[in-house]
Amino acid sequence: MNIIKRTFYGIYNLLKGMKITIKYFFKPAITLQYPKERWTMPERSRGMVGLLSDPETGKLNCTACLICMRNCPVRAIQITQTKDEAGKRVPDEFVIEAGLCIYCGICEESCPFSAIKMIPKYEFSTFDKKKLTHKKERLAEIGKGSKYNKWS
């Protein structure tokens, strides 16, 4: 008798498992068809690094204080300083190796001038490794139109 009870109990549990799979068979699928449909990234999402500019003048906010370069854990930022026409210190070269960057956001958090931000853009794959070295103009283009939010 014990084996008959165990058999029926076993079959009942197998059917319980099957009920779950057939339930999800009839529910709609939850995946996105990627190239045609894209997910809207949350605004705090840490994507590629971008340089912010002043909306009126179009000049970069960065004053080449080198704090982000010192704080970057993997040394992905290289900056050289120069002076512009008005005598203020501005970056001459601002290079970020996107292949080295670990997207930690420490540069954004430590900048005192609201000049660098992680923009929620993520489609930067390329076949040529040299394109992964982002220079100042590319970084300004990535950061165009974004506003800085101070980390509270």
Binding site: K16, S45, C72, I106, S152
Partner: protein
């Protein structure tokens, strides 16, 4: 009959379950000595994922090292962040505001659920039931969406800081998290429907891979594997750290210390974590989220060891500081490393198919082993 069988010429042979294998959750090489189907002995070779985390720490400041701690165990990043920040706070006597403590608890318990979901998915995938893997990842997506809303990343969060957390939670976070917890609790029942009493699953896991309690304690096994042997040992109750003493939760244990018990312990832990998160979400106070620390942070010279209950066992950080902005020595004690040492002992005498189930139930993640 036994004499006749022993007269047949058999040979033991060595099989290499190599670094690339679908079942060894990462790059682990197992050298097996087998007699037919039965495993006689085993030697694990580790080190394929060694990234010298401890040496790197000597050249980074405490603030710069936090993204590295994420990557010690990228499946449960919040725990690694938390233990490092708590160790440095203990070393430098930095207080943590109330709101930050509550936020840390919520994040950490949600991460425990996410980590156990990965374990459940890969465990059932190893045993042949492919569908729960997809269901677990579907639930995990919701948790990762919550995390991304707050700190910006889905996997390596870099969220906690010495003295609190880095960003405040958004107003949408609390209702969304509550909705998630209420959505999640019936899902655990569904996973149990598919697996727990399934006769095929029972015959694969009941009575397999018995871990004696004394051997577990001798080898330093911690976490759900130790609780599966019947010992009620959880650091959240034994040495309450952070504000765990304000929440009501149970510690599930197993009875027979086989694979099925370890599975049940983790399933119950998922429910308990959801309960803790719900309790914390109800009572978050207002306030600051981080105490101010100096820009060049120099803890006093000394040493500290601090341990927490991570999903895979006990994770501990031993930090020696000499008063400079960079630590002098960091030693990381991870649960998976000690749990892996007991694998050769409990898999002797079992077949290869059982080895896969036993290894899955120990929940070893290779980045933790190799650091």
């Amino acid at each position: 009959m036994n004499e006749q069988i022993s007269e047949i010429y058999t040979e033991e042979f060595f099989v290499n379950m190599g670094p690339q294998h679908p079942s060894t959750h990462g790059v682990l090489r197992l050298l097996l000595k087998m007699d037919g189907e039965v495993v006689l002995d085993m030697v694990p070779h580790v080190g394929y994922l060694h990234r010298s985390m401890e040496k790197i720490a000597e050249n980074r400041t405490y603030y710069q090292y936090i993204p590295y701690t994420d990557r010690i165990d990228y499946v449960s990043s919040m725990f690694c962040n938390q233990v490092f920040c708590m160790a440095v706070e203990k070393l430098a006597n930095v207080p943590v505001p109330e709101r930050a403590e509550y936020i840390r608890i919520i994040m950490v318990e949600l991460n425990r659920i996410a980590s156990h979901l990965i374990w459940l998915g890969t465990f059932s995938l190893d045993l042949g039931a492919i569908t729960p893997f997809l269901y677990c990842f579907r639930e995990r997506e919701k948790i990762l969406d919550l995390f991304e809303m707050v700190c910006g990343q889905r996997m390596t969060f870099n969220y906690m800081r010495v003295g609190g957390v880095s960003r405040d939670i958004t107003p949408e976070f609390v209702p969304m998290a509550k909705e998630f917890v209420n959505y999640f609790l019936p899902r655990v029942d569904e996973y149990e429907d598919i697996l727990t009493n399934n006769p095929i699953f029972l015959s694969r896991t009941k009575g397999v891979g018995l871990l004696d309690q004394k051997i577990a304690i001798d080898y330093g096994v911690t976490g759900p594997s130790l609780r599966g042997t019947g010992l009620k040992w959880d650091l959240r109750k034994e040495e309450p750290y952070s504000i765990y003493d304000r929440f009501k939760f149970e510690i599930p244990t197993g009875e027979n210390s086989d694979v099925w018990d370890r599975y049940i312990v983790r399933i119950k832990e998922m429910r308990e974590s959801a309960k803790i998160a719900l309790q914390a979400l109800e009572r978050i106070p207002e306030g600051p989220i981080k105490t101010k620390t100096p820009a060049v942070f120099k803890p006093p010279a000394g040493e500290v060891y601090l341990r927490i209950e991570a999903p895979r066992g006990e994770m501990g950080f031993y930090i020696v500081s000499d008063g400079s902005p960079k630590p002098y020595r960091v030693k990381i004690r991870t649960g998976s490393f000690s749990n892996l040492t007991v694998l050769p002992i409990i898999s002797r005498g079992w077949k290869i198919a059982d080895l896969v189930a036993i290894f899955g139930s120990l929940d070893v993640v290779l980045p933790e082993v190799d650091r």
